[in-house]
Symmetry: D2
Subunit: 357 residues, 4 copies
């Protein structure tokens, strides 16, 4: 494999993706690495590109979730070498600026997200045979031998996001629940299910999942959710209050991107509770703080800050976290167009699709 050209998922504009031949990336800076992608995945935020919500220039390779094998490294790279099997963060960060030093790596002024367009550094994506990874020492992590690609592919993106749902959007690991706490998660898609896994790690005693898709609720149930709520059938706020002795959940996580879910989150939490917004809500929301104030609510909103990689690898190695059940489809990279269609339309019981270059 290799050579000057490679296959990649290329955004065509107007919501169209195609698998095409593009130039294979090469080392440009001393701290770059080239990684041969062995496993990639399609993320909900890739759909934002298709839907025109996240601007990406036509001709850009998209995708930001992948693991692979290091093919080549620049002269300054010291922590990985050719042949190493590695996972990657969904984006890059320099590791040396004050922002990175304060562990806010998502906000690194030198950073960006693979294949997420000009708002995020205009980097090429990773649904491809090869990927160029800048700041390789910061962005890549060796995968323990005993773990498969599929066990760790979510560590650098949706699992980090779900984990953020429970640890909080600040980089200080405080945790938004105490052991024994209750968590309501709106959205039982990939991010919501990762949040469920994180809630279990943090000792939640009652995990409540809300989703209108029955097969996704069912998956949540199998993964250990305690209460399953279909908001098309019952009022989720009422159901959450009932499940929590009328007090409300300690934490409500918005992982569906719906503005209605966001409002519901606010009414689902107890006094001094927290709402954590992981989904992107595209219209402005009206909030009446004179009411919120009496409840002493905290509202957080955040995107993925990949700072718990080692912790997550340890938890996966110990079988405390297993996200493989959410992989419902594994398809060749060549079939990416079809894969995007399934994922977008939520057909075939899809939760998460893996692409194999």
């Amino acid at each position: 494999m290799g050579g000057l050209y490679m296959k990649a998922v290329v955004y065509q504009g107007n919501g169209v993706v195609k698998v095409q031949e593009v130039e294979k990336p090469t080392i440009i800076k001393a701290d770059d690495a080239i990684v041969r992608v062995t496993t990639a995945a399609i993320c909900g935020s890739d759909l934002h590109i298709i839907h025109g919500v996240l601007p990406v220039d036509p001709g850009t390779v998209i995708g930001h979730e992948f693991v692979g094998i290091v093919e080549e490294v620049g002269s300054a790279v010291t922590t990985v070498k050719p042949g190493d099997r590695v996972l990657s963060m969904a984006g890059i960060n320099c590791g040396k600026c004050p922002t990175c030093r304060s562990r806010k790596v998502w906000a690194c002024p030198n950073g960006g997200i693979f294949g997420n367009g000009p708002m995020f550094g205009n980097l090429q994506g990773v649904q491809a045979e090869f990927a160029r990874v800048q700041y390789a020492d910061e962005v890549l992590t060796k995968i323990p031998d005993q773990l498969e690609d599929e066990q760790v592919i979510f560590v650098g993106d949706i699992l980090a996001t779900g984990y953020l749902g429970i640890t909080g959007v600040k980089p200080d690991d405080r945790g938004l629940i105490k052991p024994g706490g209750s968590v309501a998660i709106y959205g039982s898609g990939p991010v919501g299910l990762c949040t469920l896994a994180a809630a279990q790690i943090y000792g939640a005693a009652k995990i409540i999942m809300v989703d209108p898709l029955e097969y996704r609720l069912e998956m949540a149930g199998k993964m250990g959710a305690d209460v399953l709520i279909n908001p098309d059938k019952v009022d989720p706020v009422k159901a959450i209050l009932e499940a929590t002795n009328g007090l409300g959940a300690e934490l409500a996580v918005e992982a569906s991107g719906s503005d209605e879910a966001l409002y519901n989150c606010i009414h689902s939490v107890c006094a001094a509770g927290t709402v954590n917004i992981l989904g992107i809500v595209n219209k402005p929301i009206q909030l009446d703080f004179s009411k919120l104030i009496a409840k002493n609510i905290t509202i957080e909103a955040g995107i993925c800050n990949v700072i718990h990689t080692q912790e997550l690898l340890d938890l996966i190695s110990a079988a405390r976290i297993d996200m493989m059940p959410i992989i419902t489809h594994t398809m060749p990279l060549a079939d990416a167009e079809k894969a995007y269609d399934i994922f977008d339309k939520r057909t075939d019981g899809v939760v998460k699709i893996i692409l194999k270059p």
Copy 2:
């Protein structure tokens, strides 16, 4: 003094207060105490009553900030006794329910705030010669002999509120800044100045005060604020960014009750920063979470949770906190009508008014 009647500030309806004779309160339950009020204060939230924002029935004694001397206690009271000089929380809480046990005393279902009307337990207020204090063991704290009334009168209300501005609205004492952090405080009135004092205790390296009233900014400067901003003269967001190397403050506290200040707070904080809303904003606010999400912001909103009384007394005893400078007026209770007028109109360089029964 004493007898069956006493003087008190009584709300007349339609924004009018009068000093009148009312019945002196008596012990009703075994855990009650009757306190002879020696010093009371007028709070910004008392003005909400006058302005019709906080509903209170005509005929109600108002006021919730006071210290005094225990006159009589019920049979179950064990921690204070007649003759003890005590400070009081602004409200009551039972201390035994699950909510109190989890240190969310402001939300106690058996609780309320003195003189704050039917939304808050419909309790009689404390701008009076005597006050009945339910759950006396929970609500009253003996004052160390060496401290004057005026040094401690704010502990149970506005100082606890300002402290909450820095510790956060949850009852877990985590603190919203790290030592060396920067704090922007919108509003240099009584609560804002208490927040300033709390920020100093938490090791803030840069404290920025925003207020259109120059004399209040000047007071903040004397109390140790590092940067003083008059929003009528300069754009406060721009000035805060300049004062923080373009990054924004780690924490912005809204202590003015203005919706514009709230919007400004959101634009004043750095990545992973926190906005804490202490002022009551009466109209709904529109927030665009798709923008907030990229900055990983936390927004908190809360009312006073009086759980740091001992800590605050220790800090006051050690002269680490001194709120006496904010007392600009001391007037007899009999002059309460005039005092309310000054406080409401912000004339005479007023910051805080003490009433002496």
Copy 3:
């Protein structure tokens, strides 16, 4: 049952216990309750009495672990009433002194431990048909209907102790491990196994149990321990380092009371690791701080501080914690002498013995 006399386990001096008739306790103070004991247990620290390590006057009823049904309450008790099924802390605390208010309830100057002799308030014990519980509002907690006595009996003592092994001996809930962390627990007896359960709740990825009794290691394995070490067969420190990539565990808990185990704990932890000493080591230990300093070790030592009752009940209700497997024997109170003998000699595969009055 009932009447003026009752059956109880009475310490005779010289290491002898007997089941005898003693006077049934009565309400003495307004905040007392009398509880009819339905289930009691024998604790490792009861053996300290038998062994002469913990001084108790002959004639004292011993035992401090129990649940029961409220028979009668004093006039000031408000949170429980006759007929309520309740669990109790192993000791009492007043709930109102500064020490209790700072959540250090074990250190309450008005407190003590049931049946633990003059060093701990000289209170009568609870291996009896009835128990007098002072400060009943603080000490007793209603048991949710769906939970059996045996599910909750450890909440007020050994489970609280094991929990302290992971949360730390300070009352601030910080937790001594992060999710994904490793914990070595020396001692797989009742306290060690409770510590194992707590480690799981706090997200430990690797839990290592050390005990010379194979049947106790086996029980730890069934409860989810990852690595089982018999120190009679392998060097535990070497084995722990091997299991942790040569770094050492993040936390080592001494739950065996052996001084050798304590030394081993210190050598089992990683840089910036913590040793938490729950077992009582009766001889002075020599420590070389010039060596400890280079490793930045924290050593904690503590006795049970029962402040997580609600949290533990929530975790038990949610089946996140199930300590029933450690109950190897259930015997009538009348057979207490035999039960003490089995427990002391560790025969019959004993881990924990329940006594039924």
Copy 4:
């Protein structure tokens, strides 16, 4: 200045130091920097070398506290450049290994301390005209223009150590005191006084300094200590208990290196209090854990983990921390022998000596 040789303080063995000509260091690795030392200091641990407690080979340049101007950098260095004025950590760390990533930089397997001999990486020291700094991006930090050398020279060593005295030896910033807490510091030398400054930042309400040298106590008083205790005149434990209402301090810091002080620390803290050992105690200490356990004490011991540089620079810039008063002597590097003599014998009212190359 410059050339192939330079002046440096060289350890001669047998407790003798001399200022000699040695080879000027050069860039060896791509991530090295050469710094022209503008200001150096003598540390208490340099005396351990003289006293034979810390083994250093004769011929080694000693010293580890310095600031200077970057002279030359290797090709991989990106955060500093020639001409930059920088402060340095007292040692080096690679920044990329798992230990560094977990913020335990002192324990980096690739690290060491300048001039501290074979136990600490056998690095050349910095009491010299030039110093080679490995991992320059990790170890050096640009100094804000408005700050003088003397204001920041302690940031990378003794101030970081004193800060560790209050934050705790773990790298998680939790803080060993709450605002309003009390701290007893045994030793009012350079480290003890830095601990005093840190305690003020963390909101301590009562800071108690213990030292037999009156002039050092006096300096502590000027810097804001609340209680000054000369242990040659009064029993320090008794005095500390008196100063804390009989409860003991929340935290006792051992910053004197005396075993007696360490024992006193243990008796100086309250229930659930912490003892933090910063001084090196050279003989084993006997501890009776059966007594410690009843008090739920935490004992920490640690060496400097330089992770708060930015925080400390912000605090110094804001004049919240000013350690310049502890500089009692400024001498030319050429007079280092005399300087060591003064510092060792504690004559001339010495606290801290600056050396100017």
